[in-house]
């Protein structure tokens, strides 16, 4: 709903911007000022084409469901037979927590060869629900801590956050398309390294796309941040143990201060992670961050600020 209103605003903005660009168009300085035929109709059509097309393309990435998405990112299912101890334990934990949450069991996957402590959940409906835990988390966390981490991810599934997030990601992707289109027009010519006068149109479209992109990100982030707090609260409720998730976050805090570089994650799952991998600095990036800071989350879990907890640095 908000998205539809937003697209209408965007169409108006693009039309206005292109009209201004038209006024500044060099050829119009000589002859009388005339608009090309169907000027506004064409603009509207192009904007719709890009935003809706981009939305459709982005959504296509998720159309096959959470499990397929997880597998495309390289996560591996835990085998029924012959899983090693840590993986078997992870599956047991997931099953226990689904009982505590009174919800269906998702597929549990492990992201191999990733040293960072992280996890994410994805899925449209229970049949393709998946939670993915990194190898690093399996090594660095105790059973209780894994329990907190798994419960946090399960909350994202049960409360419908993954569904919402995948829809939002599609919409923001559509808005991105417009920005990229504008940029491709505004880029200088490869041969002459000069910008043609049409670059003006490019900049106008880019500006509109950028505003759209920014608003989309703000919306996505605001929703996402509240959902993170909810998932933290659910994890404490289901495990009846604030130390589980609490210590997980404090260990991650320690690892981050050891300047362990976070892995670059596919941007489409950024907002589904346990811990955001993009560092946020400054007011604007605070608003754009998809997660509250670790300190804020730890403080909400314990009711007071807590220190980091030593975790063995993965080799």
């Amino acid at each position: 709903m908000a998205f539809a209103g937003f697209v209408v605003l965007l169409i108006l903005a693009v039309n206005a911007a292109l009209f201004l660009a038209m006024l500044a168009w060099p050829l119009n300085w000589w002859g009388g000022f005339t608009l090309p035929r169907s000027f506004f109709e064409t603009n509207t059509f192009v904007v719709l084409l890009f935003v809706l097309g981009g939305w459709w393309l982005e959504s296509g990435q998720f159309a096959q469901g959470g499990l397929a998405l997880a597998q495309r990112l390289g996560a591996q299912r835990i085998p029924e037979e012959g899983a090693d101890f840590a993986q078997q334990q992870l599956r047991n934990i997931a099953l226990e927590q689904t009982l505590a949450a009174n919800m269906p069991m998702p597929t549990v996957l492990v992201l191999p060869r990733v040293q960072e402590v992280n996890a994410f959940a994805a899925g449209w409906r229970p049949a393709d629900w998946a939670i993915v835990v990194t190898d690093g988390a399996l090594q660095a966390l105790s059973r209780d801590e894994l329990e907190g981490l798994v419960a946090h991810e399960l909350s994202h599934l049960r409360e419908g956050d993954t569904l919402l997030n995948m829809r939002l990601a599609g919409m923001v992707g559509g808005l991105d398309m417009l920005y990229n289109f504008g940029r491709s027009i505004a880029q200088p010519d490869l041969d002459s390294r000069e910008r043609g006068p049409w670059a003006l149109f490019g900049f106008a479209i880019m500006a509109c796309g950028w505003v759209g992109h920014l608003c989309g990100q703000l919306l996505k982030s605001a929703v996402s941040r509240e959902r993170e707090y909810l998932a933290d609260a659910r994890a404490v409720q289901w495990t009846r143990n604030k130390e589980g998730l609490g210590r997980t976050l404090r260990k991650v805090l320690y690892l981050q201060r050891q300047d362990l570089r976070a892995m670059p994650t596919h941007s489409c799952v950024q907002h589904m992670l346990l811990i955001d991998t993009q560092e946020a600095h400054g007011r604007l990036s605070d608003w754009l961050a998809s997660h509250p800071t670790l300190d804020q989350r730890i403080e909400r879990i314990y009711g007071e600020p807590m220190d980091e907890v030593y975790a063995q640095t993965p080799r």
Binding site: F85, Q88, Q89, N92, I93, L95, E96, Q97, L99, A100, A101, N102, R143, Q237, W238, R240
Partner: protein, 195 residues
């Protein structure tokens, strides 16, 4: 005009009553689902215990008493559960089952603590698997009970708060009871480990 307004108000009240009724029904169904889960997990535990005891016997010869207590508690729980199945409304049978389950939980918990007390076996893989299986089994039983209580709490809150209270009264919804710990003083006796 006044008749129209009165009609609209009546319609709104009826719609609200339907929504409230459906919400209570959904709560009640998830309670019965949660209750079913407890049963499933208890069954699983009965099936698993002989297996676990068999593995434990290999490594913990000195804990014959505890192992025997677990086996006994399981037998008692199985027969109590069969008795309750035959007569689901019997209060003494339910109490007997709760008691037997409590004893079984306690025995398995003790086994778990004892298994931790074998430092030379800490690295032993079979024992590690056994410990994990025990922990998970106990967690599953505990978490199903916890989930049941959570659902009951949500249901009772909805039931007893105004204005849904009125719908509940009219249709005769009754508050559900939460499960409580059945441990008595003798059962709660702490685990002693001789080293």
């Amino acid at each position: 005009m006044a008749a129209w307004i009165a009609g609209l108000i009546v319609l709104a009240v009826i719609i609200w009553a339907i929504v409230a009724y459906n919400r209570l029904i959904a709560f009640r169904n998830s309670i019965s689902n949660a209750h079913g889960q407890i049963d499933v997990q208890l069954r699983r535990r009965y099936d698993l215990v002989p297996n676990l005891v068999e593995v434990a016997r290999k490594y913990m010869q000195h804990e014959r008493e505890t192992l025997q207590a677990v086996t006994l508690a399981r037998a008692r729980a199985v027969s109590a559960s069969d008795a309750l199945r035959a007569k689901p409304s019997s209060a003494p049978a339910a109490a007997a089952l709760a008691d037997a389950e409590g004893a079984l939980s306690l025995g398995l918990g003790r086994l778990l603590v004892l298994s931790e007390a074998y430092p030379e076996l800490k690295a032993n893989e079979s024992l590690r698997d056994l410990r994990e299986e025990l922990t998970s089994t106990e967690n599953r039983v505990a978490f199903t009970r916890q989930a049941y209580n959570d659902e009951v709490l949500a249901f009772n809150n909805a039931l007893q708060s105004f204005p849904d209270l009125m719908v509940a009264k009219v249709f005769g919804f009754e508050a559900a009871g939460v499960l409580r710990s059945t441990d008595n003083a003798q059962q709660r006796e702490t685990v002693r480990i001789a080293l």
